[in-house]
């Protein structure tokens, strides 16, 4: 076992420990911090695979973006030192079952890709040993740089690559944002936009519910 392997196993142990802490921590904030550690360790795993861009995207999107929103939500909702109640046994059993199925599925996938990757490595070794055709060297180079910023960018905007899923995801995100705004505005919409039939419906629904505080401000 060389240094690299030892580092890998130490990292994985840390990652798994933090992952357990994420679900086991009683305090919501501690759980979020543990999740932060898990995401950071995953980024280091990507770095070990020389997927620099994936690691950077992991840090940028998950740590710089999603975790900040998670922490923000914790700030708004959670008491300092407050403890969450333990989940019911049924929920725990369900969670264990889902985790077991996911683990089995991923193990199957890993076995299959592991065999494929070994074959590819053997093929690449054979090709680099002969070192003659320009095509094979270009292939090898593409294999090395598969996760670089440039290749990823070109793949994302290539009509034969991932252009359509990429654009579809942006539509999905837009829909999610509009939905979020609609949910957030339910209280205020009834007060302002009473002329619209949709808004009126919302305001009517609101009168009985949480909108009571809002409707006090404007006379009907």
């Amino acid at each position: 076992m060389n240094v690299r392997d030892a580092f890998f196993y130490a990292l994985c142990a840390l990652l798994l420990g933090l992952a357990v802490l994420t679900v086991a921590a009683g305090n919501l904030f501690r759980a979020a911090l543990a999740l932060l550690g898990v995401l950071l360790c995953t980024a280091v795993l990507f770095l070990l695979l020389q997927a620099e861009m994936a690691a950077l995207a992991q840090v940028m999107v998950y740590i710089g973006g999603i975790m900040i929103f998670v922490l923000y939500a914790v700030l708004l909702t959670s008491e300092l030192g407050g403890r969450m109640p333990a989940p019911s046994p049924v929920k725990m059993l369900l969670g264990v079952a889902v985790a077991a199925v996911a683990l089995g599925f991923l193990a199957g996938l890993a076995q299959k890709t592991g065999a494929g990757a070994a074959a590819a490595r053997a093929r690449m070794h054979a090709e680099s040993a002969t070192k003659e055709s320009a095509a094979s060297s270009a292939d090898a180079e593409a294999g090395v740089n598969i996760a670089s910023l440039k290749t990823l960018g070109q793949k994302l905007l290539d009509p034969k690559g991932f252009l359509i899923p990429f654009e579809l995801i942006s539509v999905l995100l837009l829909a999610a944002m509009v939905g979020a705004i609609a949910v957030a505005r339910q209280g205020g919409a009834g007060v302002r936009g009473g002329s619209e039939p949709g808004a009126a419906a919302i305001s009517v629904k609101d009168q009985g519910g949480a909108g009571a505080a809002e409707s006090r401000g404007a006379p009907p």
Binding site: F29, L33, M53, V59, M60, I68, L71, L80
Partner: protein, 360 residues
């Protein structure tokens, strides 16, 4: 063949004195040591500069007693801060309270690792340098959020919530400005971005893209002022309303870590501005041969620092000239004005680049 990413005569000399396996370790240690030294010295110097600039803006003299021109004043302040007890108020979350001050300084430290100070003076040149900068600068926001929550104080919590909203919003237009520069340079490596601006002063991105460059520079300065938590956009620590915002409860070395990070961040941000818009370490050239020859005599690192300090002076000028905004004004400035303008500017720049409507 280049054994190391960065070659510099001094570094080569030190590496040459050591046997091969140790040279690589020495390389890393040298890089980390240099950046750590720069962080400390720069923070201390910037604190002095801030006090002096502020004083002269207010028709005062600023520190004059300790050392010549008061230059040793920040060192005395630093010693005072370090000697103070690192208080732990009752009821704080231990982990969060002591973890938070480390994160912002880590973020600014990591940004400096990709900063091109000179042709061969850069710790590492990442091909995705701009993405890296955006990624690690998120640590600063995390530190403020964690610290504000962990302090168990209403002012801190309010300050950190404001700051979360503010930093997250202004990051959008900041990233759009960076994207514009990446588009113009055709590379996301900071070194390549600088090298794409070779030529005269008119080849710097601020001038080369006719209107878009100047507009992008203005947007960059405004949104980075907000990202730096500096006045007039320093809502997260507005002392007149929040007594100090997210660092209300901090004292001693924990507080000085936040304080240090703020000044180092300003340096890093000005460095990015100089790299993106003002040709980084390139000496300015005006197309007049004797003048160009004379200006090129100074090494690139000097030019880098000249440009950086010009931008830092601009930040200080903002801070001591404009009154602080209100939080709702601040957020509508970003979402209703800066963001649409950045998007339109990106489109304009894309048109200019596609049709090559640039200055010759």
């Amino acid at each position: 063949m280049k054994a190391y990413a960065v070659n510099h005569p001094i570094g080569d000399m030190i590496r040459g004195m050591l046997p091969a396996p140790w040279a690589a370790a020495a390389n890393g240690a040298l890089a980390v040591g240099l950046i750590a030294g720069l962080v400390t010295v720069m923070a201390i110097f910037l604190i002095w500069l801030e006090r002096k600039v502020c004083a002269h803006f207010q028709a005062r003299l600023g520190p004059t007693r300790v050392g010549p021109f008061g230059l040793l004043q920040p060192i005395a302040d630093a010693i005072k801060l370090l000697m103070k007890e690192n208080l732990r108020p009752r009821g704080v979350d231990n982990l969060a309270y002591f973890l938070a001050p480390l994160l912002p300084i880590t973020g600014s430290f990591l940004v400096l690792a990709v900063m091109p100070f000179d042709h061969d003076l850069q710790v590492v040149d990442l091909p995705a340098g701009v993405v890296y900068v955006v990624a690690v600068s998120g640590l600063g926001i995390l530190g403020i959020l964690i610290g504000g929550w962990g302090s168990n104080n209403k002012y801190s919590l309010l300050g950190s919530m404001r700051s979360g909203a503010q930093l997250f919003s202004y990051e959008l237009s900041l990233v759009l400005c960076m994207l514009l520069i990446v588009m113009a340079s055709g590379s996301a490596s900071l070194r390549e971005i600088v090298l794409a601006q070779q030529g005269t002063v008119l080849d710097w991105w601020i001038f080369k893209l006719p209107v878009a460059g100047l507009l992008a520079f203005a947007l960059f300065m405004i949104s980075s002022t907000a990202e730096l938590n500096r006045g007039p956009l320093d809502l997260s620590e507005a002392e007149s309303e929040l007594t100090g915002g997210f660092h209300t409860e901090y004292a001693g070395i924990s507080f000085s870590m936040f304080f240090l990070a703020e000044f180092v961040n300003m340096f890093a941000s000005a460095g990015l501005g100089a790299t993106f818009f003002l040709g980084g370490f390139l000496a300015p050239r005006f197309g007049v041969p004797p003048l160009d020859w004379a200006l090129a005599l100074l090494p690139g690192v000097v030019w880098f620092f000249v440009k950086v300090f010009a931008l830092i002076f601009l930040y200080m000028w903002f801070r001591w000239t404009f009154p602080r905004l209100r939080i709702d004004h601040l957020l509508s400035l970003e979402w209703k004005f800066l963001l649409p303008v950045s998007l339109a500017n990106l489109l304009l720049a894309a048109t200019l680049i596609t049709f090559k409507w640039m200055l010759p």
